[in-house]
């Protein structure tokens, strides 16, 4: 289905022709535009890497005040929203460079007859990732609602056994959800889920033991089918495919239009990679390690920096099986664990010290929920916007190609 690859044999033979064409294309104006584009990319990602309030290392003891300061920390919802804005800006600028004032035939000639379809193919894959991530955010909202239940229960005064058990039940559900979303989809929702669930929930009907008093997790999980993108779809495979033919332009090409195309594709892949890292996403095994980003290019420095930070975090988490690296989710998970601990050790009446420390954690959890409540839906909408932008741009590029008359209907 990919003609681009079929062309590769004859591609070499055409290099000399191509070179000649290039010297015409590289006007001074274009050079200027390209440099500006690279500078903007660099600036935008630098701002993302070092957000205005200096990031504070999150720790278990982070209290509410510190966490507020960390709002714009890498992978927080707010940060992800900024990332979406950055993507939209880069995309708009790129499209202007690619299409505005350009003779349509230029982008239908080699090497663009290969580069453009490849780029369009990447954009198709990005669309599916957008859909997967939007679904993933639905799952995060489910976690948020579970956390809200725990918060509401633990905010009750006087804090009694019932409240604590109620919170524990919700938290147990939350932690299962956080830890199995990913795994569950590897095994396409089969037995893996059940074993985990069984360890929490003591089947009331089956066994003779009591589930209710234990606060077992029983709300049940959204089965993979309800949020997956497609039966055999895998985020990891798609990201791999997007990077498979993504190589920096060389020689004469490096100075021309192939460069911004490479940059934009890299940005797209990177953003998609971040999104799949952030929220539950269907099948992403091995993604923590795999994302070739160009190391020595000026425009990519900050992007590489962000990539390394997230990659390190991901590798740590991957073994445990985590639903997502969204900053709020990882904190939610930590708080969930320590609040479950609190619940396990709880005896009525509450010990003052333990209760106070739990109260601080509850307040932090409440704050996380509040932020999720405020920002998840807008983030979801932004991702839909990214989706539509990609669709539109793809259509515009195809239209130009059609005008060029060379590729009346490219297979992508």
């Amino acid at each position: 289905m990919r003609p681009a690859q079929d062309n590769q044999g004859s591609f070499l033979g055409r290099i000399s022709i191509r070179r000649n064409q290039f010297t015409d294309v590289n006007t001074e104006q274009e050079q200027e535009d390209l440099e500006l584009f690279q500078k903007h990319i660099a600036d935008r990602f630098t701002e993302l890497l070092t957000p205005p309030p200096p990031p504070q290392p999150p720790s278990d003891e982070t209290d509410t005040v510190a966490s507020v300061a960390a709002t714009e920390q890498i992978m927080s919802v707010t940060w992800l929203r900024k990332l979406m804005d950055v993507f939209l800006c880069c995309e708009a600028e790129f499209k202007a460079i690619l299409l505005m004032g350009r003779d349509p035939t230029q982008i239908s000639k080699p090497p663009f007859d290969r580069l453009v379809p490849e780029m369009l193919d990447r954009s198709i894959k990005a669309l599916d990732i957008c859909t997967a991530v939007v679904n993933g955010i639905d799952s995060v909202r489910h976690y948020q609602r579970l956390a809200e239940i725990a918060v509401a229960a633990l905010e009750q005064r006087p804090l009694g056994d019932g409240n604590v058990r109620r919170a524990k039940r919700a938290l147990a559900n939350l932690l299962i959800a956080l830890s199995i979303e990913d795994k569950e989809n590897v095994s396409s929702g089969g037995g893996g889920n059940k074993t985990v669930e069984r360890s929490w929930s003591f089947g009331r009907r089956g066994g003779g033991s009591s589930a209710a008093s234990k606060g077992g997790a029983t709300i049940g999980q959204l089965k993979s089918s309800s949020w997956a993108v497609g039966r055999n779809w895998s985020a990891a495979k798609q990201i791999h495919a997007m990077t498979a033919n993504l190589t920096p332009p060389r020689g004469n090409e490096a100075a021309g239009l192939p460069l911004p195309m490479f940059i934009m594709s890299t940005v797209t892949v990177f953003v998609m990679w971040v999104l799949t890292a952030a929220v539950p996403c269907q099948e992403r095994a091995g993604l923590a390690n795999h994302l070739p980003v160009p190391k020595h290019l000026n425009w990519a420095q900050s992007l590489v920096g962000i990539h390394e930070k997230i990659g390190d975090e991901w590798k740590k988490k991957e073994k445990k099986g985590s639903a997502g690296l969204m900053e709020e989710m990882t904190r939610m998970e930590k708080l969930g664990h320590s609040l479950i601990e609190f619940a396990d050790g709880f005896h009525y009446p509450a010990e003052k010290e333990a209760a106070e420390s739990a109260a601080a954690q509850v307040a932090e959890m409440a704050e996380i929920c509040r932020r999720m409540e405020e920002e998840l839906v807008p983030l979801q909408q932004q991702i839909r916007e990214v989706f539509h932008r990609i669709v539109r741009s793809r259509a515009e590029i195809l239209e130009v190609l059609e005008q060029a008359g060379k590729l009346s209907a490219p297979v992508v």
Binding site: T218, I219, R231
Partner: protein
């Protein structure tokens, strides 16, 4: 003590016993000694002597004490407590300031409250141990007993928590009651989930699923009978397939949980359950499975062609059945909250549906895809508006925008397919003439395609009207003049292109009459196709058809002139008479020429093809009508001059009847050419 054994086998066991001690002590005025109440517990509530006025009827018959028997008392207590609270509401603020007056606000919690809680706990423990052999929700008595008890606990909790003196003096009781409330709520939550997932009366099994698939056939009524058979008299059994009793119970549980402050748990169970059930239903009933955009691009058209009807069916069913069913169910169980619940259940799925449509619009364009693309377009046009209504206001415009953009992409695709068709007609420059001047495959293909596309006439008119880019401005003028639609002018344009192409192709024939035949064949085919389908006829209009028919007649005439005019020339009288005498050699020459020419015409034109039978006979009839009288007259006039016998036999090869027969052999597409005129004559 033995009643505790099956209750809490976990590590909290001890603490709970301790709490119970506290609780029961709490059920007495605070000045009672702890020792007494502990005794109380240890003997399993057998001793209730401390508050005789509260426990008159329970004395000596504590075994008969049930939740029900205590309920009335508890209700009385609760109402008096709330009355009490009401009375003190106004001067509450004052009292807070006077610390020692708080005791006035204090009321004693009778011991039976603790007893009531114990009984409820027993009940819950029994359920948890799986002791009752019946399913809880199927046992009416158990259901109402538990629900009422839960109600009372919730009311009790509310009062306790909202009354300052209780908070001050009865915290252990609050803890105990809260703990039991939590157990009860957890139990209800589980039951709610089980009920939601397991009590669907007709979760379409494979059996009925396949029957439903064939409802397009004539078995509709039988099928319906079967579907409704299991639960006669219940009208609401369609989707989601719960009996009214089940729905009523779900609602009651939801109400009780909400009243006790556990509404969020109930909602969450509902949401997770419904999403899973809905997906399962779509898979079972419609064979729907999510397909990624990338996959759609990679599918062969054959595969995608099978996916699209599944999609349209699913989307239509969601719009007319599944989504309304979800809203109705949410409305019944969580009245007032159905909008937000429905959104969470259905919004992601709706986005997924639109993604598929988008994906199809993105696939490589080809003419064969038009009809399926229009199917999707129509489905969105017809089934989305009712679906949209189900979503709350704030989501509607977002979804509507999504649908609008998908529809315009599909519409543009459809329009582009027509211009692709135009281009392919323009660029079809095959140089091989169709043998015998028969209908060209391009004409066949184009006409069948157009005829089929006119079955989507109204949709296409709409598509052209709403999604055309303004690049076809030159088309505007004739469109306005003849008041015909953009789609009609598109069709005209294609027809004109087809005509142009056919005319060019007709030049490939060296024989002018054959190129006439070719034009007649193609023209006739086009007219017949258009007349044969009301839709396309309507689009092209009568004027167009009349014009085409008259063009056809012209070809007919010029064919006749080219071929038969020449032959008729041999039958003229000129040059045969000289000074009133017949010039015999000339006459012989005439006959010879006539025969030779006729044989030649017959030989070639029997290989020519006229596909349309009517046209074929029309043409033969009109040739006969010209030729036969002329030949007869010629024979009558000059036949006598040839010597009978040898000479006549030599020169008069054909009798008029023979000519007639031979004309009837023309345009048969007979390429075997073994049937020469001579051979034919003898048969």
């Amino acid at each position: 003590m033995e009643k505790n054994d099956d209750k809490d086998p976990d590590h909290n066991d001890k603490s709970i016993i301790e709490e119970k001690a506290d609780v029961v002590s709490d059920a007495h005025p605070p000045d009672e000694s702890d020792g007494n109440s502990k005794e109380n517990v240890d003997v399993g509530n057998a001793e209730t002597e401390h508050n005789p006025e509260d426990n008159v009827e329970s004395q000596g018959e504590e075994i008969q004490q049930t939740l029900e028997s205590l309920s009335e008392e508890l209700d009385q207590l609760l109402s008096s407590l709330s009355l009490h609270k009401e009375e003190h509401k106004d001067d509450n603020t004052e009292e807070k300031e006077k610390g020692d007056q708080e005791d006035d606000d204090y009321f004693q919690i009778p011991q039976f409250v603790g007893k009531f809680l114990d009984l409820l706990e027993d009940k819950l423990s029994k359920y948890d141990s799986g002791e009752p052999k019946t399913v809880w929700y199927q046992d009416q008595e158990e259901v109402s007993s538990l629900l009422e008890a839960v109600d009372r606990v919730s009311n009790l909790m509310r009062l306790l928590l909202n009354t300052k003196s209780c908070l001050d003096h009865h915290e252990p009781l609050i803890n105990h009651a809260g703990s039991i409330q939590q157990r009860a709520m957890a139990f209800l939550e589980d039951e709610f989930r089980i009920l939601l997932e397991e009590s669907v009366i007709k979760e379409t099994t494979d059996d009925t699923g396949s029957q439903r698939k064939s409802t397009e056939d004539a078995v509709v009524s039988q099928d319906n009978d079967q579907v409704t058979a299991p639960e006669p008299g219940d009208q609401e059994i369609e989707y989601p397939g719960y009996s009214e009793d089940v729905v009523a119970l779900l609602r009651k549980i939801a109400e009780k949980m909400k009243a006790g402050g556990y509404g969020w748990e109930c909602r969450e169970v509902y949401l997770v359950g419904r999403r899973n059930i809905l997906m399962r239903t779509l898979k079972q009933d419609c064979e729907f499975e999510k397909v990624s955009i990338d996959e759609v691009q990679k599918m062969s058209w054959g595969e995608l062609e099978r996916e699209i009807p599944i999609w349209t069916k699913t989307f239509k069913n969601c719009s007319s059945l599944f989504f309304p069913g979800e809203v109705k169910l949410a409305e019944k169980i969580f009245p007032g909250d159905e909008g937000s619940l429905f959104c969470i259940v259905a919004h992601g799925l709706t986005i997924q549906f639109l993604g598929f449509a988008e994906a199809v619009a993105m696939t490589k364009r080809s003419t064969e895809k038009l009809f399926k693309i229009l199917d999707i377009y129509e489905t969105l046009r017809d089934s989305f508006p009712p679906m949209e209504e189900l979503f709350p206001e704030e989501l509607r415009s977002e979804l509507r925008n999504e649908v609008t953009s998908v529809r315009s992409r599909l519409g543009e695709s459809a329009i582009n397919i027509f211009s692709d068709l135009e281009n392919s007609i323009k660029s079809d420059s095959s140089k091989t003439p169709v043998p015998g001047g028969a209908v060209h495959p391009l004409t066949r293909y184009t006409m069948n395609y157009l005829k089929y596309s006119c079955e989507y006439k109204d949709t296409l008119e709409q598509v052209f009207k709403s999604h055309s880019k303004m690049e076809q401005e030159e088309e505007e003028v004739p469109a306005n003049n003849s008041a015909c639609s953009a789609f009609a002018s598109q069709l005209m344009r294609i027809m004109d292109l087809l005509d142009g192409n056919m005319e060019a192709k007709s030049k490939l024939y060296k024989d002018i009459p054959l190129s006439c035949i070719f034009m007649m064949n193609n023209g006739r085919y086009i007219v017949q196709k258009i007349k044969g389908s009301a839709e396309i006829h309507e689009v092209m209009g009568d004027t167009w058809c009349r014009r085409r028919s008259s063009e056809l007649r012209n070809y007919h005439k010029s064919n006749q002139r080219e071929t038969w005019g020449n032959l008729l020339g041999f039958l003229g009288h000129e040059g045969l008479m000289h000074n009133g005498k017949i010039v015999k050699p000339n006459l012989k020459e005439r006959f010879k020429s006539f025969n030779a020419t006729f044989d030649e015409i017959h030989k070639t034109q029997t290989t020519w093809v006229i596909n349309d039978e009517q046209l074929q006979s029309e043409l033969r009839v009109s040739i006969t009508a010209v030729m036969i009288p002329a030949y007869r007259a010629f024979m009558a006039r000059f036949g006598q001059y040839l010597d009978p016998g040898r000479q006549t036999e030599k020169y008069v090869k054909y009798q008029p009847e023979d000519i007639e027969d031979l004309i009837d052999e023309l345009f048969d597409g007979n390429t075997s050419s073994s049937s020469t005129a001579t051979a034919k004559r003898r048969t």
